[in-house]
Amino acid sequence: MNTRRTGALVALAALLFTSACGGAEGAADNADGTTKVSVTTFGCEIWNTWAIGKGVYGKHRLDVELVRSGGGSAAVAAVLSGAADFGYVNGYTAINAYNTGFPIQMVSGVNVNALPPAKPAQGVFVGKDSPIKAAADLAGKKIAVNEINGINQIVTASWLKANGVAPESVSFVALPFAEQVPAVLSGRVDAAQLGYSLLGNNNDKVRSLADPFASSDKIYIATYVAAKSFVGKGDAAKRFHEAITETAQQLSDPANTDEAFRLLSECQKVPAETLAAQPQNALEADVDVAALDRMAQQMVDLKMLPKKPDLGPFVTDFARS
């Protein structure tokens, strides 16, 4: 064998390989006094487009880089590996990961369910002419959710349970959001649980049985978690929470609505008017530990957690309400 050539090839591959690395450094202070942090994202979150577009992160000396990742274990893995500093996960995932023993802490809440009297942001959608009229009709039916054992499934199952339907009698089917309404319309599933903002142009073709999120107490739909070691090092996590708090305040000011949707529209490639017409989840940066505790109890009731963990040490002091 021509060992010299093989050796050169190995060396080249090794070189290329190492040159491709180097994205995984932790928080580092820039020369201008800002801290570079990376935040996982699903795509376009309204608070991120706003805080970046309006310089809220910059004001809190944060130089935010958004990195796309799936939710759940991917975001937790990203945070633990240092690939990202803040992981975007829903409250249930966060509790689950913490319960498993991962060294993470919740540094900020961001989205909570829209409770009445606000317009419902979520729904259990059935076809316009479907014979299904109420939760009770869903027993034994197929319901589409975007992830198995994900937040939508937990909330829907809890809602069914509260309405006297055994969640085990229902089969949940994972479907990408974009496929859910077509699946309902073609009768491939009986219902789908998703947000109004994800209906696309199918608003008139479906109707909602109820907002399963609204029939519950406060639910943290979106939160940020960070590695324990990251929280303990410097105050970047605290500043991140403050930036989210300020963003939430600004976004709840009606004067900023148009501008917020304009920024979001640029990111999402969906017209701003369409976005403005869609009900949104509420924003809340502070974490209510009692609410989180009730969420953990829901998971215990659905047999997804063996027993309720002590969430006290999980939420950082600065993030508590």
């Binding site: 990742s69 690939a83 999402q268």
Partner: protein, 283 residues
């Protein structure tokens, strides 16, 4: 997977009597490319008819005309092309790293028969596991960037490369080895003069299989969650509910894979010309 279907090959293939005694030449000299174009056109027409007939809703599968138009728009979109470059870069890294390790290792394992059987059971175990099952672990170890995609792709293509290198060595004609030995050749000389040339076509087959698998795995990793690459563009359009762009992206990705495949064949033909005769399935 082996194949004789190459553009250049057709001339030679023409001369070869193929098919049975019944496959007579009544079709005359319709050039292959005309038939190929006819095939592609037929596909688009069928696609159009399926959507037009309402068998599939336009929300799920757009018209081919719209898809082609969007594909045209994407092809001149700089952002899209940058993402294509990112995907190809990950592909290249995976190919280089996997072959740098897989080929020498495969040659070694194939050469020593005591190692051959135990390693093939490891290979069969390893290649049955979809690399996407390792996604969270890959993210944990490599983050969300190029490295994660590359590591998953390496996992997926390492096995075919290794296996084909092993098979290639094992397939060396025993007679040729014996002849070499009787001529008093050293082990190195046997290796470079007999084993390597006879293993080369099989190695090339492994690399060709790996090349398409690597692209598919990189794309799947991007679809499931990564920071860059064509797959992320497709996901963005999926979330924006623009199936026309989604299918345009898929179509372009398919064309990219085709391009890589034909490119690979060309290189293989130049580097391993003797592989032609003995090319048989890539196991």
């Amino acid at each position: 997977m082996a194949s004789d279907v190459h553009v250049i090959d057709q001339v030679e293939a023409d001369a070869r009597p193929t098919g049975g005694p019944v496959a007579a030449r009544r079709w005359g000299p319709t050039p292959d490319w005309v038939l190929g174009v006819a095939g592609v056109v037929t596909m688009f027409v069928l696609w159009d008819l399926v959507v037009r007939a309402g068998a599939v809703s336009v929300d799920s599968l757009p018209y081919p005309v719209d898809t082609l138009r969007r594909a045209g728009e994407l092809l001149v979109d700089v952002t899209f092309l940058t993402e294509v470059a990112q995907t190809l870069w990950a592909w290249l890294l995976a190919m280089l790293a996997a072959s740098a390790v897989g080929i020498p290792l495969g040659l070694t394992l194939g050469y020593f028969s005591a190692l051959y059987r135990p390693s093939s059971s490891v290979v069969h175990a390893g290649r049955s596991i979809p690399s996407s099952a390792f996604l969270p672990i890959a993210i944990l170890m490599f983050g969300l960037g190029t490295q994660m995609k590359v590591s998953l792709a390496i996992y997926a293509i390492f096995w075919p490369i290794l296996l084909n290198a092993m098979y290639g060595v094992r397939d060396t004609e025993p007679l040729m080895l014996a002849t070499g030995r009787s001529m008093g050749w050293t082990r190195t000389r046997l290796l470079t003069r007999v084993v390597l040339p006879s293993a080369a076509p099989s190695i090339a087959t492994g690399l060709r299989v790996a090349s398409s698998t690597a692209l598919i795995v990189v794309l799947s990793a991007e679809l499931l969650g990564a920071t860059n690459g064509v797959g992320t563009v497709i996901t963005t359009y999926q979330q924006a509910q623009r199936p026309d762009f989604v299918y345009a992206g898929i179509l372009l990705v398919g064309l990219l894979g085709m391009g890589l495949y034909y490119g690979f064949n060309l290189v293989e033909r130049l580097v391993v010309p003797w592989g032609q005769a003995q090319r048989e399935g890539g196991r």
